[in-house]
């Protein structure tokens, strides 16, 4: 066994052992080293409701004739002038799920043009909203979908999300290619030449190949 292979085996074995023995990991009673108590990504979209603002919606509701009962159940009456009491009760009385908000903001048939459609208008936790088509080979697929229907992407992603992969190119981060790719790219480029020019111009090749005088 060669030494790099031995090193790989050793590191992989150690990390796997660490992963497998999570229950045995030390979790001391120390304020700087506490176990994380929640899931890393919450699977709830309940965070969206807190962004609703009655004042902001008063004008469009008035124009379109939306009334209280369109969003709230009125099987009980809130009889309080104190907003500290009325607001949580009012929120509790809203119809379940997303129907009330999505009626104007999302649903194709009933959407108001002036109502912002991006998911991020209200949602801060996008994890539960990840569509199924993102779960297999999405890196291969996303170019075609983004070209055909950019509005769909923009409903959840800002342009900086694209920039984070497409434009943050430097010699430190490993975003699109791993560190070894420098030595392997000639093989992969010849396997699928159209893949390279999706991101790179010819200048990018020439600059290195001329300096290093490497074989083509």
């Amino acid at each position: 066994m060669t030494s790099p292979a031995r090193a790989l085996a050793l590191v992989a074995a150690c990390a796997l052992a660490l992963a497998a023995c999570r229950q045995l990991m030390p979790l001391p009673q120390n304020r700087y080293l506490q176990p994380r108590t929640t899931q890393r990504v919450s699977m709830s979209t309940a965070d969206a409701r807190q962004y609703f603002d009655h004042g902001q919606h008063a004008k469009p509701f008035g124009v379109t004739g939306v009334e209280c009962i369109d969003c709230h159940r009125f099987d009980f009456v809130i009889d309080s002038g104190d907003p500290k009491i009325a607001e949580p009760l009012s929120a509790h009385a809203m119809v379940d799920g997303s129907a009330a908000c999505h009626f104007c903001h999302v649903d194709d048939a009933t959407r108001m043009q002036a109502a912002p459609a991006p998911c991020t208008t209200c949602h801060t936790n996008l994890a539960p909203l990840v569509p199924e088509n993102h779960q297999v080979a999405w890196l291969d697929v996303h170019a075609a979908e983004a070209r055909g229907n950019p509005v769909q992407c923009e409903s959840c992603h800002r342009q900086s999300f694209c920039i984070a992969c497409h434009e943050q190119r430097d010699t430190i981060q490993l975003i699109a290619h791993e560190r070894n790719f420098l030595f392997l790219h000639g093989i992969e480029a010849r396997a699928d030449p159209m893949q390279c020019s999706a991101c790179h111009r010819e200048d990018f090749c020439i600059n290195c190949h001329l300096r290093e005088a490497v074989d083509p």
Binding site: A19, A20, R36, V41, Q50, L126, V130, V136, M194, D203
Partner: protein, 457 residues
């Protein structure tokens, strides 16, 4: 000097905005990757530092959004050339009735070697009274990497186009477009494009189908075509993705163009004189709640020189395990391979991420590749990384890491790095967005809001 002036001006503007009472979303993300390593060309130590900053001001009056993005670069060592970006986009989504407008500019500074300036604009007319929306755009294509003042290819490039989008397609999209690409005053292509896609969530296998055809009217050839589908082969268990592609940017059959400025895709032309056919397939199988297996295979065929066809293969397979199923740990092991005229490659990668401790992120990565090239080079490349990160404050994440690599260039390539991310957002005039600030720092889904600019290259 003027880069600091830019920062000061930006912060000054933000402070002034803060002083005024109005509703707006302010969002800022700063990312600083830094590294100490041996130089690839010189063997001298170098310490490159990049500063990426993304400043956005959204939901101003009339729905106006303004986003800026820039990258500053400094290398404390031998001066390796690199580029600095400054870009900004101003968007007015439906501030004018039925009209979504955006205007963008990117400045790519490459020190004494030159600069690349790209301006573009996009205008969409969309009214619910019509079954279509119309978009027109134009400007210079953006490049995301140094052009080094284009020693071979002219920077005098423009793209103009229009698109008609059907707005009443349920669970899908369809649009017809036109794109003209001009370089150095010469029209390289005039593409007529058709995009369509639709998902069928109630049909067997729940297919999502997409397709794209682009015909170059200037050269009378089929420029690009793609047809793909994603399927739930076994619901909740086995997902598949399959696509076929065709690409022919030469425009003149198999004739090699000596002047790269006349080639639509000079990089592709370096490797192929013909069109390329591509078939790809990927599968993902959920073995259990916490373990999934994946595999992918791609087959490509093109002509290297007249009468010499080449077959390329890219593939891989692996396992992804989430111990505990709660996402606090992630283990990924994968095998990958490539086989082409350039050589044969076989490799394996291992990734481990751990968020078990509050505010702490530990990660490790090992990549080993063995390759035999057509140039008779035969070697094993090893790359490893060990990183430890900490959420110093809400929204402020810092990671220190070490890389240990061994390859044909370095017997031992040791790198030390630092990775700092500060993500901050504030909602003026309304309730602020709790939790949004720290999302991006640990790689969790961020909480963005907004849209994109004009067409990219």
């Amino acid at each position: 000097m003027w880069r600091w002036r830019t920062i000061v001006l930006a912060w000054g503007a933000l402070t002034a905005l803060h002083a005024r009472a109005f509703a707006a979303d302010l969002q800022a993300t700063v990312k600083v990757p830094a590294q100490v390593r041996d130089g690839y060309y010189t063997d001298e130590a170098e310490a490159p530092i990049y500063i990426y900053t993304d400043l956005g001001l959204n939901r101003l009056r009339h729905g106006l959004n303004f986003e800026t993005y820039f990258r500053l670069y400094e290398n404390f060592g031998p001066n390796e050339g690199d580029a600095q970006f400054y870009s900004g986009v101003l968007r007015l989504p439906y501030g004018i009735p039925y009209t979504n407008a955006s205007l963008g500019r990117q400045f790519l500074s490459e020190g004494p070697r030159g600069a690349n300036l790209a301006d573009s604009g996009r205008l969409t007319f969309d009214t619910s009274a019509l079954p279509v929306s119309l978009t027109a755009f134009g400007g210079a294509p953006r490049y995301f990497e140094p052009t080094f003042s284009s020693p071979s290819i002219s920077q005098d490039e423009q793209m103009f186009g229009a698109r008609m989008n059907l707005t009443n397609v349920t669970r899908g999209y369809a649009n017809l477009g036109y794109l003209q690409y001009i370089r150095d005053g010469e029209t390289l292509s005039e593409l007529v494009q058709l995009n369509a896609g639709r998902s069928y969530p109630d049909a067997p296998l729940r297919p999502n189908v997409y397709g794209y055809v682009s015909y170059d009217a200037d050269n009378a050839n089929l420029y690009m075509a793609q047809l793909g589908t994603q399927l739930a082969l076994v619901p909740q268990k086995l997902l598949g993705s399959f696509d076929a592609g065709y690409y022919d940017p030469q425009g003149t059959g198999t004739r090699y163009r000596l002047d790269p400025n006349l080639a639509q895709d000079p990089l592709f032309q370096q490797l192929s004189i013909s069109d390329e056919l591509r078939f790809r397939g990927s599968l993902r199988y959920l073995l259990s709640k916490s373990v999934s297996a994946f595999a992918n295979l791609g087959y490509m065929r093109y002509e290297v020189s007249e009468g010499v066809q080449d077959n390329g293969y890219l593939g891989g397979a692996g396992l992804h395990w989430l111990p505990g199923g709660d996402g606090l740990e992630s283990v990924r092991l994968e095998y990958y391979t490539a086989d082409s005229r350039g050589g044969i490659l076989n490799g394996a990668r291992f990734y481990y991420d751990n968020w078990v401790y509050d505010r702490i992120h530990f990660r490790t990565k090992v990549d080993v590749a063995y390759y035999e090239k057509i140039t008779n080079q035969e070697a094993t490349a090893v790359a490893t990384l060990l990183g430890l990160g900490y959420d110093l404050l809400p929204g402020l994440y810092c990671e220190a890491y070490m890389e240990g690599n061994r390859n044909e260039r370095f017997d031992a390539d040791i790198r030390f790095g630092l990775w700092i991310v500060y993500d901050w957002s504030h909602r003026f005039g309304q309730k602020s967005a709790p939790g949004a600030a720290s999302a991006a720092s640990t790689g969790e889904p961020a909480a963005p809001a907004g849209a994109a600019t004009g067409e990219d290259a």
